[in-house]
Amino acid sequence: MTTGALPILEIRGLRKRFHDVEVLRGIDLVVLPQQLVFVIGPSGSGKSTLLRCCNRLEEPSAGSIRVAGVDVMARSTDINAMRRQIGMVFQSFNLYPHMTALRNVTLALAKVLGKPRAEAERIGMAALDRVGLADKARSYPGELSGGQQQRVAIARALALEPKVMLFDEPTSALDPELVGSVLNVMRELKRGGMTMLVVSHEMRFARDAADRVIFMDHGVIVEEGPPQQMFSAPSEARTRAFIAELAR
C-alpha cells in the first residue's frame, strides 16, 4: 500500500435519520486504495445503512461522501455513473431470478455501459471465471447453491470494474459449509488489489484479511484499529463486550 495515496472512499460527518430515529450520528471513515476495512457491531448499529449511504441507496441526511475524489452527493454528480464504480454485494444475494448467471452479470454491462453483446459476454464470462463459476454461466439462480449465488452476485459487481466494493453481510444467509467459498473469493479480490468495505461477523476472515476493523454501535464508530488489536485487546468496554459475544 502506498502511503499518501488518495482515499478511494472518504466519509465525513455522515448522518442518516429515518423519521425521528437517527441511525447514523456522525461517521468519519477513510478507506485507502487496496485496503480491506471491516465493520462489526451489533444489529441496528447502522452498519448496513452506512454501506447503503455510500452509493445512495439510502439518501444521507447530512455529511459528505467522496468516492475516488468525486462528491457522491453533489447535484452535478451523475449518481448512476458513480454507482457502477461502487460494487455492492448483499446479504440475500439479490440475483435476478429470471435471468441466467451470465445474464445477471452482463445486464449492466449491456444497458449501463452499452457494451455490445459479444463483448459483454466475454467480460461476464471472465468475471464468472474469477469467482470459479464459468461452468454455471447458463444456470439460473434457482439452480445454484447459496454460496454459488453469492459468488455470481460478486461477479455481477466485479464485471463493472468498480473502484471499491461494499459487502453487506455477504455470508450471513449462507449455510456454514458454503461460507468458505465466498470468503475465498473475497480473499482473491483482496490479493488482486480490490478496495473493500465489508460488514460481516466472520472474525477469522477479518483476522487474516482485514487491514482495519471498525466497531460501530448506535450510529457512531466506537473504536477502530488493526484486527489483532481489535480482537485481542480492544480499549473500549463496549467493543470488548461485543467481541466476547461474537467469540462465544
Partner: protein, 221 residues
C-alpha cells in the same frame, strides 16, 4: 321437451341467424383487439404512476384506479355515449366503447400490475440500481418481468372478464356478438340465437379459463 328444444336449440333458426351472429363475433373480436391492448398499456401506465415518489402524483393515480373500479362500466359507457353529447362531444359507438373500456379495464389491469410490482422485493431494486441501472431500466428488465410472471393468472383472468364485458357495447348499438344475437332473437321470436351466442362465448373462453387454472398451479408451485 319438444317445446324447449324448439325455443332454445332450434338448429334451423341457428343456421339462419349464423351469418348475423358471425358478423357480431367479428365486431366482438375487433373490440377485444382494441380494448385489451389499450387496457394493458393504460394499466401499466396507471401502475407506474402509482409508484411515483411524489405523493400527490401517487395519490392521483390511486384515486383514479379506485374511481374507475368503483364506477359500473355500463354507467360509464352510457355516460360517455349519451351524456357527452350534451357537452358538444359526439363520440361514435366504437369510440365511446374504447374510452369507457380504457378507463375501466386500465384501472383493473393497473391494480394487478401494481400488486405484481409490489410482489418483487426491494432487494431487486437495490441490486439493479447499485449497478448503475436507471429506475426505468430496473423496472423494464428486472422488476416487470418478475411482476408479470407473478400476476399472470390475474392478468389473463381479467382479460376473460374484459371479453365478457364487451357485450355491454350492445347498449350503444354496436353490433357485437350479443347485440346481433338479440337482433336475431327479436326477428325470429326464438331464443336459439342467444344460446348460439352463449355457446360461442363458451368455446372462446373455456380454453383460456383452463389455462388460468394451469397458470395458477404453476405460480403456486
Amino acid at each position: 321437451m319438444e317445446a324447449i328444444v324448439q325455443q332454445f336449440f332450434n338448429l334451423a333458426i341457428m343456421e339462419r341467424a349464423l351469418p348475423l351472429i358471425l358478423s357480431g363475433l367479428e365486431q366482438t373480436i375487433v373490440i377485444c383487439l382494441l380494448v385489451i391492448p389499450l387496457g394493458l398499456i393504460g394499466g401499466l401506465a396507471f401502475a407506474i404512476i402509482s409508484l411515483s415518489r411524489l405523493r400527490t402524483v401517487r395519490w392521483a393515480a390511486i384515486a383514479g384506479i379506485d374511481f374507475f373500479r368503483a364506477i359500473p362500466p355500463l354507467v360509464l359507457l352510457i355516460f360517455i355515449y349519451a351524456g357527452l353529447p350534451f357537452a358538444g362531444l359526439r363520440p361514435s359507438p366504437m369510440l365511446a366503447v374504447a374510452i369507457a373500456f380504457f378507463l375501466n379495464t386500465s384501472s383493473y389491469y393497473g391494480e394487478i400490475y401494481r400488486a405484481g410490482i409490489e410482489s418483487v422485493g426491494q432487494g431487486q431494486w437495490d441490486a439493479a440500481r447499485s449497478t448503475g441501472l436507471y429506475g426505468y431500466q430496473t423496472l423494464a428488465y428486472v422488476v416487470l418481468p418478475q411482476a408479470v410472471r407473478n400476476v399472470l393468472p390475474d392478468l389473463v383472468s381479467n382479460t376473460v372478464e374484459v371479453v365478457k364485458l364487451t357485450s355491454i357495447a350492445s347498449v350503444v348499438a354496436l353490433p357485437e356478438l350479443l347485440y346481433s344475437a338479440d337482433m336475431a332473437r327479436s326477428v325470429t321470436f326464438n331464443s336459439s340465437p342467444i344460446v348460439l351466442a352463449a355457446a360461442i362465448y363458451l368455446v372462446m373462453l373455456w380454453p383460456i379459463v383452463r389455462l388460468i387454472s394451469r397458470l395458477e398451479r404453476r405460480v403456486a408451485a
